[in-house]
C-alpha cells in the first residue's frame, strides 16, 4: 500500500515535470503559470495533511501560514532585501514561530474549539495585514521575484516552475519519512486514541505542537513561492475561505495519504480555472459562480469516493 503511494507520487511528479515541455509544444505559456499554482497549493495541502490527516487536527486557519510566508517575501522586498537566500529562510522561520505560538494556544483545546480557535487566529492575522498601511493595507504589496545566484533566475518561468516542483518532491519525501517514523506513529496514535497514548507514557501535546510547527513552516515556504508566483503579497491570501479551500483540497484528494492532497490541489486549481472559463463562455458573468458546479462535484466525491481521488485511482483500496 505504501509502495503503491510511492509509485503514484513518482507518476505525478514525472507528469508535472513534463508540463513545461507541453506548454512549449502547445504554445500555451499560461499553462506554466497555472501548474506552478497547482504545485504551490499542493505543497500547502500536503503540509495541512500532516496535521489534519495524520494528527486528526482540523486546522481551519492554515492559510495564515501561506500569508505569513508571502508577507516575509513582500516586506523584505519593500526594504530592498530581495535575496531569496534571505527571503526563503525567513519565510520558513517566521511561519514556524507563528505556528509555535498559535499551536501553543490552540492545541490546548480539541474538536470544534480547535477549529474555531485556529480560524480566529487566521482572521486576526488577515485583519492585521489589512491594517498594515505601510505594507499596502488591504491591497497588499508588490514583491519582485526572489534573487538567487547567477545561473538561477526565478524570472525565468520554467526555472521557477522547477523550483516549486523540487520543493513539492522534497515535501512528499520528507512527509512520507515523517509519518512512518516513531514520531509519525505517535502522532497517529494521538489521533486514534489520545487517552490511551497518554497512559502509555506519551506527552501528546508536545508531539502535536511539533507537527503543527512543521506543517506551518512548510506552508510558509509555499507562501513564499506563492508571493513569487504572483509577484505580490496580500492579506486576501490569509482569508478564511482560503483555509477552507486547503481543507477541501486535502479531503477531495484523500485525507491522510499525502499523495491525495496533491491530486486535490490539481483538481481544485484546474476546475477553478477551467470551470469558470467554460461557464463564462456559456453565459457572460457566470464564470465567477464556478463553485455552483464545483460544490455538487465535491458532494459527489464525499458520497461516492470516501477515500477521495486517491481512493478512485485504486478502487477498493481507498482509506
Amino acid at each position: 500500500m505504501i509502495g503503491d503511494r510511492r509509485r503514484l507520487d513518482w507518476t505525478l511528479l514525472v507528469l508535472f515535470a513534463g508540463v513545461p515541455g507541453a506548454a512549449l509544444a502547445l504554445d500555451e505559456p499560461y499553462l506554466l503559470d497555472l501548474f506552478a499554482r497547482v504545485l504551490i497549493f499542493a505543497i500547502a495541502a500536503v503540509s495541512l495533511d500532516l496535521i489534519l490527516g495524520y494528527g486528526g487536527l482540523v486546522s481551519f486557519g492554515h492559510a495564515a501560514f501561506l500569508g505569513i510566508g508571502g508577507y516575509a517575501v513582500g516586506m523584505l522586498y519593500q526594504h530592498d532585501l530581495g535575496s531569496g537566500f534571505l527571503q526563503f529562510p525567513v519565510a520558513v522561520l517566521v511561519s514556524g514561530v507563528a505556528a509555535l505560538a498559535i499551536g501553543w494556544v490552540s492545541l490546548r483545546t480539541g474538536g470544534l474549539y480547535f477549529i474555531m480557535i485556529t480560524l480566529a487566529f487566521a482572521q486576526m492575522l488577515y485583519y492585521l495585514g489589512i491594517s498594515l498601511k505601510v505594507y499596502g493595507g488591504d491591497d497588499g504589496m508588490r514583491a519582485r521575484r526572489s534573487e538567487f545566484f547567477a545561473p538561477i533566475d526565478l524570472n525565468d518561468q520554467t526555472q521557477f516552475y522547477y523550483l516549486a516542483l523540487a520543493v513539492l518532491a522534497l515535501s512528499l519525501w520528507l512527509g512520507r519519512r515523517l509519518v512512518n517514523s516513531r514520531f509519525g506513529l505517535a502522532l497517529q496514535g494521538a489521533r486514534s486514541n489520545e487517552r490511551r497514548l497518554r497512559v502509555l507514557g506519551v506527552p501528546v501535546f508536545r508531539y502535536r505542537l511539533t507537527a503543527f510547527v512543521i506543517a506551518g513552516a512548510l506552508c510558509g515556504l509555499a507562501g513564499a513561492l506563492f508571493a513569487n508566483l504572483n509577484e505580490y503579497a496580500s492579506p486576501s491570501t490569509m482569508h478564511w475561505t482560503r483555509s477552507g479551500e486547503l481543507i477541501v483540497m486535502v479531503i477531495l484528494g484523500g485525507v491522510g495519504t499525502l499523495t491525495g492532497p496533491v491530486l486535490g490541489a490539481l483538481a481544485f486549481v484546474l476546475l477553478e480555472s477551467y470551470l469558470s472559463e467554460a461557464l463564462e463562455a456559456l453565459a457572460s458573468g457566470f464564470g465567477q459562480h464556478w463553485q455552483v458546479v464545483f460544490g455538487p462535484l465535491l458532494v459527489a466525491v464525499a458520497l461516492f469516493a470516501r477515500g477521495g481521488l486517491v481512493g478512485l485511482l485504486r478502487p477498493g483500496r481507498g482509506e
Binding site: 519519512r177 506513529l185 486514534s192 487517552r195 506519551v202 506527552p203
Partner: protein, 258 residues
Amino acid sequence: MSGAGLALVDLSKHFGGVIATDRLTWQIAAGELHALIGPNGAGKTTLLSQLSGELSPDAGRILFDGRDITALSADRRTLLGIGRSFQGTSLFAEFSVLDNVRLAVQARAGHSFRFWRAARQDAALNQAAFAQLREAGLDHRAQATAGSLSHGEQRQLDLAMALVGRPRLLLLDEPMAGLGAEESLAMVARLKALKGRHSIVLVEHDMTAVFELADRITVLVYGRAIATGTPADIRANAEVRAAYLGEAPPAGERHAGA
C-alpha cells in the same frame, strides 16, 4: 522485579456534590495483588484514574515507592513504572495489533522524537513488540487490525500494552468483564503468572476470580474503604455482606451456588 508499594493519604475527589473518593487512606505492599471491590458507583474506576494520573484528586497525596507523585501527569507516571489497562479495553482500533504494541514500546523507550527512521523497520522496536505479543499469545494475530480481534483477544492486547516496560505497579480495570468462561480462565491464569512480578491493583466484579487471585481485598462503598483484609477476613465481614446485599452475592454463596 517484584513491584513497588503504593500509599494513599487522605485522598479526596468530588464531582459537584457527588463524593467519588472520600478521604481515602490506603496502602499496597510491594508485590501484592490487591483487589478493589464494591458496588457500581463506589468510585473504583475514578480511583484508578487518580492513580494513573488521568484525574487529579481534590485533596490528599499519592505516594509511589515512597515518592510523592500526586502532581505528576499520566505520561510521567507511566515512565516511573505505572501501567494501566482499561475497562472495556482502550486500543488504537484501526492500527494493526503489532502497531498497538509498537506504540507502547516506543513510548516506554523514552521519547518518540525520531523523525527519520521507519518505525516499522526498527529491529529493536519490532523484537520488543513481538516478545510482548508472544507472551500474550497474540503473535499469530500481529498483522490483524486491533478492532477486528475478538473481545477476549482485545482484552489480552490491552493488558499486553499495559505490561510493556514491566511496570512496577499494574492497574487493572475489570479485565474479566464480558469474557466467556474459557477466556476468563485464560485471563485468571495470565494474572496468576503476573502475580508477584508486579504490584497489582485489580478492580473486578467476578468474585470467584477476585477471591482466587487477591492477597488482600479492599471494599469500597461511596468512595470509602469500609474494609480491608485477606479474602478470608472479607468473606467473614458482616459489614461487607450488608453492603453487598442486593448487589452481588457474597463470595461464599456464589461459590456454593456455582
